[in-house]
């Protein structure tokens, strides 16, 4: 690191990595505003493709389904995951519990997908949005638990004891003492699980069942991509990219306020 040529080379390399990461995304965004929708010829600025999207009932229905799934699985997993995190932080460290909570985060998607499909089929459960919600909650609980635990680690437990000594009930203590302290972590965890759920494809694909009614947004995008490159997908892509970047910046901000 003393020699400048090495540092120069490292920085040039890092610059190229950013080019590699962002050029494909920028190309999609630019193309989505291209009148012809063609990749090489710019025929003028147009928001025509966005207009087409707004009139496509399949895409709107899929987006609605994804919102329902993401909100429902986020609510379930934020509640259950936060409790789990509190329970795990209160007791002695237990490697088996840690492994169980880590498992849904590292198990390959496709394995969780076939396992859940087999499980639901064995139970004769009807597949649809409800089975996608239950499936997404599996990995979301694990992520919520991990995020909230990080927050709880820096939590001074003596203020809980103080609250109880002063006569507050367990519920009041949770509502007035614990929750305000861990709230930024809980909100960040909820945002994370919302993002993960709304982006998830394979598990939803396997557990959605045969009906058209439970097609989620990523499933719709997948079907369109398989059909070929169209300007409409560029417009969808731009909206999705903008939306997810917004969510990330929001959770970054929350994290900074929490720290």
């Amino acid at each position: 690191m003393r020699t400048d040529p090495i540092r120069l080379w490292l920085n040039a390399h890092l610059g190229l990595v950013y080019v590699f990461l962002y050029v494909p995304i920028l190309v999609l965004i630019v193309l989505s505003f291209n009148k012809s929708g063609l990749p090489t010829t710019w025929t003028g600025f147009s928001t025509e493709w966005y207009g087409k999207l707004a009139g496509n009932p399949k895409i709107l229905a899929a987006a609605g389904n994804s919102l329902i799934v993401a909100v429902a699985s986020t609510l379930i997993s934020t509640f259950i995951g936060t409790l789990l995190a509190m329970g795990m932080e209160e007791g002695k460290p237990n490697p088996y519990l840690d492994a169980l909570v880590a498992a849904p985060m590292i198990i390959p998607d496709i394995v969780l997908a076939i396992a859940l499909l087999s499980f639901y089929t064995l139970l004769n459960m009807s597949l649809g949005l409800q089975s996608i919600v239950l499936s997404h909650a599996v990995f979301n609980i694990a992520f919520v638990c991990t995020v909230v635990r990080t927050r709880l680690k820096n939590f001074d437990r003596s203020i809980v004891e103080a609250s109880i000594d002063l006569g507050a009930s367990e519920v009041t203590t949770f509502r007035r003492v614990t929750l305000p302290v861990i709230a930024p972590g809980v909100v960040a965890a909820a945002l994370l699980s919302f993002t993960l759920s709304i982006d998830e494809f394979i598990i939803a694909y396997f557990t959605a069942g045969a009906g058209q009614g439970s097609t989620t947004f990523p499933m719709q995008i997948y079907a369109m991509i398989r059909f070929g490159v169209t300007p409409e997908i560029n417009a969808i892509a731009t909206i999705v990219i903008g939306f997810s970047f917004l969510l990330v910046l929001l959770s970054q901000r929350l994290n900074r306020e929490a720290a």
Binding site: P24, F79, G87, P108, A115, F119, N234
Partner: protein, 291 residues
């Protein structure tokens, strides 16, 4: 009192994971030991046939293809990621966080969209081929899409941010002291890197490598969309056994093998990281010494 409170907190989460994770995994493990029914269901006759078939030439070829593609993607991601992580760790402290967020940002957009972006760039009428044609560099479009190259590229693109993150946390933990000591003792930059920095960042390398390899070998979307089905990988095989061939026992056996590969790699990584930490301690530097 305390115990029951903890039980109430833990019960919903552990119950949920037991019901929707452990039980389903046990079910597919059981399925993998049964025969396929005539009409695609399960014939409850015990057999080791699925695991034996997994070793047959057809499946073995896809296994080897998957290992080669995932291995190549892992290697390329490390070669790209290490210098990038090093550059970030060497940047001024107040810029490091922003540089990392910039690396991770694409990682948070939809996986399908990020993969689709490469179809737009690589196809015969895509930006790269059309651009090269208009410059007169090539006459015929280059076969960039629907081959192994495209699959590796897609995997590297999607997972390199995580490799950079893992390596950054490992590299940034090293203080300048050891490197300076090496320089003072006459070590060149290269020797210092090879004998000091690289060995100390092995845990980060192992963590990043295992992550990319596991996600790559079980990947379904990238080989499907960028490989055009030309290079099916383990994930595609499981998919087709379940949804096309309707041979759930075979698909379950393959899924179980995938989990075993993953566990073996994670275990290897843990041992590796543990040993690396031990060696550092033996040299008198506490592992993970706060900087």
């Amino acid at each position: 009192m305390n115990l029951s409170r903890r039980t109430i907190l833990l019960a919903p989460g552990l119950g949920y994971l037991a019901l929707f994770l452990v039980l389903p995994c046990l079910i597919i493990f059981a399925y993998s030991l049964f025969e396929r029914g005539t009409y695609g269901g399960i014939d409850y006759t015990l057999t080791a046939g699925n695991y034996l078939r997994a070793g047959s030439s057809l499946f073995a070829r896809i296994f080897l293809d998957s290992v080669r593609i995932a291995g190549t993607a892992t290697l390329v991601a490390l070669l790209i990621g290490y210098p990038a992580a090093y550059a970030i760790a060497a940047a001024p402290r107040n810029q490091q966080m922003a540089l990392l967020v910039l690396v991770m940002l694409p990682f948070w957009s939809n996986y399908l969209i990020r993969t689709y972006a490469w179809i737009v760039l690589l196809n015969n009428e895509g930006l790269i081929n059309r651009g090269l044609e208009s410059m007169g560099v090539i006459q015929e479009p280059l076969p960039l899409l629907y081959n192994e190259f495209a699959v590796v590229l897609g995997l590297v693109y999607n997972y390199v941010p995580f490799v950079i993150l893992a390596l950054y946390s490992s590299i940034s933990r090293l203080g300048p002291e050891l490197r300076e000591a090496s320089f003072d003792l006459g070590g060149s930059s290269w020797t210092t890197f090879r004998r000091v920095t690289l060995p100390l960042t092995v845990p980060g390398i192992a963590a990043g490598a295992v992550f990319v390899f596991v996600l790559s070998i079980g990947n379904f979307v990238t080989p499907d969309l960028l490989g055009g089905g030309q290079r099916p990988m383990l994930g595609n095989l499981i998919y087709s056994q379940y949804l096309s061939a309707r041979d759930w026992p075979m698909g379950s056996a393959l899924g179980f093998i995938l989990v075993l590969i993953m566990l073996a790699l994670l275990f290897g990584q843990a041992v590796f990281a543990h040993r690396a930490a031990g060696e550092v301690e033996a040299r008198g530097v506490p592992a993970g010494a706060p900087r």
